[in-house]
Subunit: 215 residues, 2 copies
């Protein structure tokens, strides 16, 4: 210990641990060892212990980690304690899917608006929401205290959408457009690009396949 800063690599794994913890608690398990946590998340126990040590001391030697306590602690560290308002911009195929995705609500992310620039789509219902005009982005973000924006618009308009959202007060962006977004320091942006993921897979697939061993 000593340092209070949690390494980036550790932060990226905390949600995995949370997943395993929630599953365990659903089955009634009250304690998990670092090794069990590792199994469940596809890591190794040393990494798990090191990661959890950054949060403080939540384990018991000879026993393991208490599921409810650790769940609470990780939720707290990740800032999942109170609800966050999310706006989804772009209600095409992906945007619609995201709007209907229950994983948002389950972790305290409340979708408060769906926006789109297409006149045809405005006023239609998607999931529990009615699609509103994208031109209202700034106003909606301000009025409804939105801090998260999910960007599911074409690459060409993604930066403009991001800029307007940030201008209005959004501080976290989840970007599905296949393009790099430039954001100020106080804003966090993560880009998820399906095509990129496939290309990375493609690289390793051809490596793993040394010309098909018959037999």
């Amino acid at each position: 210990m000593g340092d209070r800063r949690i390494p980036e690599a550790t932060v990226a794994r905390l949600p995995l641990y949370l997943q395993v913890l929630v599953e365990a608690s659903e089955v009634g398990t009250s304690t998990l060892s670092s090794d069990e946590l590792a199994q469940g998340s596809g890591l190794n126990s040393a990494k798990v212990r090191k990661d959890l040590s950054f949060l403080g001391t939540y384990g018991t030697r000879g026993v393991g980690y208490a599921v409810p306590e650790l769940t609470t602690e990780i939720s707290q560290v990740l800032g999942l304690v109170d609800d966050r308002s999310v706006v989804i911009v772009g209600v095409g195929n992906l945007g619609s899917a995201l709007a209907s995705y229950d994983g948002f609500d389950r972790r305290g992310f409340r979708v408060v608006a769906l926006l789109d620039a297409e006149p045809d789509r405005i006023g239609t219902r998607v999931g529990r929401h009615e699609v509103e005009p994208a031109s209202e982005l700034g106003a909606i973000v301000r009025e409804r205290g939105v801090t998260f924006a999910v960007i599911a618009v074409p690459a060409a308009s993604a930066q403009a959408v991001a800029d307007e959202a940030i201008e209005a007060g959004v501080t976290a962006l989840l970007n599905f457009a296949p393009t790099h977004l430039t954001v100020p320091d106080h804003v966090t942006c993560r880009t998820v690009d399906l095509s990129t993921e496939l290309q990375i897979l493609s690289f390793y697939e051809q490596i793993n396949e040394p010309r098909s061993a018959a037999g």
Copy 2:
């Protein structure tokens, strides 16, 4: 140089460079400096040069990188030269969105089947395909020479789907189920979990927000 192995971190960035290169070529730009590539992908020039040096020598000192040559080289390294057959398992909200996503085809990933376990969905059309029964997974993979599977089923059935796909010959998995999949060494699996991404964002959002500076 000397080493022929491309670092993992570099592989993960090659698709970004490819994106910038394709955009540049569409605008008619024939040369890009490491700094321009860096701008476009949100990195820094040293990283770009180091990354590209692993591919060989494709730059010209004093000038930059030739767009078409570098595009070809990266495509080749990523194994994007010939088409790959992809099967999408799970045609819920996300699966449907993926089925209609044109980013797959654009990079040589050919979706050859959509599968689902729900009797209601079988036979319905989604995008250009008719949904087939998930029980046919193994047969379809074998008959159509599928090597990529996109898993968009609930977490509870994801591992079973993965196992069957792998058994039939799939060697690359893109998993959207919020759970860790165990796969043999010769198979590559990448998990994309929206909820995980949001939670990581959440962490940095609260860090960036030191109790809201008025003004």
